[in-house]
Each structure stands twice: as C-alpha cells, then as structure tokens.
C-alpha cells in the first residue's frame, strides 16, 4: 500500500513540476504578443519529425483557434 502511495505522490510531483515548468517557459508570452501589435504566437511550437510546421492558422479563416496560455 505504501509503495502505491509513493507512486501516486511521485506522479503528482511530476505533474505539478511539469505544469509549473510549462507556465514558467511561457510566462512572458502575453506581454510580448501584445507588444508586437497583436501578432499571435504560433499555434504549437512542438515538433516531432522532419516536416515543417504548418503556417499560423490565423491566415486560414475557418480554422479553430489554438490553445492560448494567456486566455486560460
């Protein structure tokens, strides 16, 4: 039982750290975007693989808005 509790504690520690780390990494994004005259940040800057990232979806009218840490 105590081992499973340790697993749960470890998982929660990692999750907290990961979300915190992500927030730190994108901490100043809001100000920068506003300073650049409303230019949105790229929809997702992760990439696995060699193909280029799709262009900003703001150029395609019908596309859904990507997640934005500043809105949340």
């Amino acid at each position: 039982m105590s081992k499973w509790l340790a697993v749960v504690a470890f998982v929660m520690l990692v999750l907290t750290g990961a979300v915190g780390l992500r927030n730190i990494a994108s901490a100043n994004a809001g100000t920068i975007t506003v300073a650049n005259g409303g230019m949105p940040k790229p929809p997702n800057i992760w990439s696995n693989g060699g193909m280029p990232k799709p262009p900003s979806i703001w150029s395609n009218g019908g596309m859904p808005k990507p997640p934005n840490a500043r809105v949340r």
Binding site: K3, W4, A6, V7, V8, F10, V11, M12, V14, L15, G17, A18, V19, L21, R22, A25, S26, A27, N28, A29, I32, T33, N36, M39, P40, K41, P42, P43, N44, I45, W46, S47, N48, G49, G50, M51, P52, K53, P54, P55, I57, S59, N60, G62, M63, P64, K65, P66, P67, N68, V71, R72
Partner: protein, 230 residues
C-alpha cells in the same frame, strides 16, 4: 516548402530508417522495441505528412490537423519510450508493476489537466485537447528524464547504452523546451523553424549512433571505479 525544408525532411526520414536498421543489425530490436516502434511510426508519419503537404498543400486544414494529431501520437509514444528506459534502469528492483501503474496514472493525470485547460477556454474542441496534452506531456518528459538521470547517478548506473539513450532524450526534451521558451519571448524568430528540425534530426541520429557504437555490455570506465559492474 523551401529547399531547406525538403532537405531536412529527407535527412530526418533517412536518419529514422538508419536508426531502425542499426537497431536490427546490432540485435537491439527485442530489448529496445519501444525505440524501434517509435522510429518506424515517426518515419511513416513523416512520409504521410509529406504526401499530404504535396496533395493538399502545406496551408491546408488537412495538413494542419494531420500534423498536430500525429505530433500528439509521437509525443505519447516518446513518453512510453521513456517509461521503457525507467523499466530498464530499475529492472533489478522488481518495481515493474509500480512503474506501469505510475506511467498510466501520469498519462491519465496529464490528460485530465489538459482537459481542464481546454475546458476552461472558450472553445472546446478535441484539437485543442490534442495540442494541450502534447505540450504538457513534453514537459512531463523533461522532468521525468532529469529525474531518471538523477536516479541513475545516485545508483551508480554504469551501462553506457542506457546512459546514452537517457541523455539523448534529455538533450531532445531540453532543446524543445528551450525553443518553446525562446519562441514565447520572440514569436517571430525565423531560425526557430530550423531549430525544431535539427532537434528532430538529433533523436534518431543519436539512437542510431548508440545502437551502432555502444555495445549492450559496455560500461562507463569512470563509473567502474565507483561501483562494481552490473
């Protein structure tokens, strides 16, 4: 797509296939099955992305959706590659059951947090969830890699191949996280596109090197002084 994009796509695909061939040739297929599956899927998805970009165009919704959904799939697979490394490092301790449970719990927790983040925004689309879970899993990967590296140092782990694989993942996750932070500060940075493609090249290249040059029985010479061979 610019000639540089074509060049990077070709190089990355070639390196992914090279990684698979190296793993098979050096009898690492069974031991490192998760790595080989990742490389095979990455190669297939890169090929599919290329086909879609040529048929529908790089600015098409088809390419956009396929790109990000496949990206999420690859991130989840990378997470399982990392869990495979955990299992390899802690195999002597007989904690496989707890590792599997922890991994599933971590994946479910990340999914829940991602859902909460999407749910809190104005639009509730599955695409947002896919993007969110991909980003969150990446940061989980960053943290897990460094925790594993810390545990390996503490346990005097001296298996060269496992060490190389963990460090290559650490470099990959760190480079992606650093790029994420830099892009948030400078969204218009043109070079970031190529940084992403170079990091994509790094992972299969380092794995191919490890499978070819570092034998399974290899031990780190410096660690041998500190701890007996495992």
């Amino acid at each position: 797509m610019s000639p540089a994009d074509y060049g990077f796509w070709f190089l990355v695909s070639l390196t992914e296939i090279t990684g698979v061939v190296c793993a098979i040739r050096h009898h690492a297929l069974r031991r490192y099955l998760a790595f080989v599956i990742y490389l095979c899927v990455a190669f297939s998805l890169d090929a599919a992305r290329y086909v879609i970009s040529q048929t529908s165009g790089i600015e098409s919704p088809q390419y956009y959706y396929f790109y990000y959904y496949s990206d999420t799939l690859l991130t989840i697979m990378l997470f399982f590659v990392l869990i495979n490394l955990y299992a390899r490092v802690f195999d002597d301790m007989g904690v496989g059951k707890y590792l599997r449970g922890g991994a599933l719990l971590l994946l479910a927790g990340t999914a829940c947090i991602s859902y909460y983040m999407v749910n809190a925004s104005s639009e509730r689309l599955f695409t947002h969830f896919a993007l969110e879970i991909s980003q969150n899993l990446f940061f989980v990967g960053v943290l897990l890699t460094y925790l594993l590296w810390g545990a390996m140092v503490k346990m005097h782990e001296n298996r060269s191949r496992v060490t190389q694989l963990v460090l290559s993942l650490g470099v990959y996750f760190s480079a992606c996280a650093a790029n994420f932070a830099v892009l948030n500060l400078h969204p218009q940075l043109a070079i970031s596109k190529y940084i992403l493609q170079i990091t994509a090249l790094w992972l299969p290249a380092s794995w191919a090197y490890t499978f070819t040059k570092v034998p399974e029985e290899g031990r780190m010479a410096t660690a041998r002084v500190l701890a007996p061979n495992r």
